[in-house]
């Protein structure tokens, strides 16, 4: 397996020294202010290039060009919290497809790690797209946090324990360990209807909340009472 559980903390300590970390965090905060519900998604997010399972590049904005899209940024492809999030989401995928709402998972690992993630999470055959953004350009454009505290802080570690009790454990980071995830609901054409930015491991938007957005959008279109 590509993302094996192991001495990820040692790998983490090496990454702590990267001088780019602080700069990325600052840029994230700058862009965060520009991402507001009800406004169009930033151009940088729509144009951000992500890789599919074959390694081909696509603009993330293609996801919401023809239909509403739920875009879920996972922390990394072996994240326990994201595994828990997917366990909640998986039974609702058919329902979202019936509501003409696409679901896109964005990770930050390699294309090989993406393939392993799809296999481990048993996503093949489900109406869901999985892509990766190794440069973190889409994460930054979405204003998602990059935080050591969100990964190694006491609340994050407590959440890891709770997730383990539910059967979700973290493997070795398949992507950026300190990058936090998030969920966006983007209406067809690019209007941002919902955004949740995770602050730590185990913090994700309730699936029922994004399904409610898809239902509301379809109710509007159906012209019902």
């Amino acid at each position: 397996m590509i993302c094996e559980a192991g001495d990820w903390l040692r790998a983490t300590s090496r990454r702590l020294e990267l001088p780019a970390t602080a700069r990325i965090a600052q840029r994230s905060r700058d862009i965060l202010d520009a991402v507001d519900v009800g406004s169009p998604v930033p151009e940088a997010l729509a144009r951000a290039s992500v890789l599919d399972a074959a390694g081909d590049g696509h603009a993330l904005g293609e996801a919401w060009a023809a239909a509403d899209a739920i875009v879920i940024f996972v922390r990394h492809f072996a994240c326990a919290g994201c595994s828990d999030h997917l366990a909640e989401l998986r039974p609702r995928l058919a329902e979202l497809a019936a509501l003409a709402t696409g679901v896109v998972i964005v990770g930050s690992g390699t294309v090989e790690q993406l393939a392993a993630f799809v296999a481990v999470q048993q996503l093949a055959g489900h109406p869901i797209e999985v892509v990766t953004d190794p440069t973190l350009a889409a994460y930054r454009a979405a204003g998602l946090e990059r935080s050591r505290l969100g990964t190694l802080g006491p609340r994050a570690l407590a959440n890891l324990g709770l997730l383990a009790l539910r059967g979700h454990t973290s493997g070795r980071a398949c992507g950026d360990l300190y990058q936090q995830g998030g969920t966006l609901y983007v209406r067809r054409g690019g209007e941002l209807a919902f955004v949740h930015r995770s602050t730590r491991i185990g913090d994700h938007a309730p699936v029922a909340q994004v399904v409610a957005l898809a239902l509301a959008a379809r109710a509007d279109e159906a012209g019902v009472a």
Binding site: L99, L215, G223, V224
Partner: protein
Amino acid sequence: MTIAFHVANALYLVSYAVRDILWLRLITVLGGGTLLLSFFLSPQPPVPAILWNALFLVINLVRIDLLIRERRPIPLAADEQHLANLVFRTLRPRELVRLLRVGTFVDHAPGARLVTRGQPLEHLLLVVRGTARVELDARPAIEIADGTFIGELGFLTGKPPGADVAAVTPLRVVQWPFAPLREFLDDNPELHATMQRVLGSDLAAKLRR
């Protein structure tokens, strides 16, 4: 005294081996009772231990009573069974009854107006029996029957209804007030997911028309 003490612990051992929570509690109560007996038979009964074990016994007995009540089969009335067959196929009878109790069954005579376009609605309706006519702007009127929702636009978006709805035949509906229904669903995630699923199916069917 010693035998009773060992029997009690053997019962605890058995209780840890069973998977069903009701059996676990039942065997624990037997173990607890036997342990109490062993305490009483001792030359100097340990009062604190007796009191603590009596408390555990009471808690377990209360939980056993609740578990048995929850597992007791519940008969559905004809209309409830009709909705179970038509809309809420995945719900257990007890869950369905809890959901339906948040609302009320209301009967309407033919011609009664249920929804007026543009006027805020306070209830989500589900047709139990009968037919209603939905008149939309710039679209032919449609008739809806058993198992169809009315007022979902308001429930899902907070917007006023975009159609007029009137009863064509004698009409029985379940009527859920928005606020208590939302509160109930927030407190019951599984029922919330089911409600979203049936509303989604209903909307998908309406979009196909």
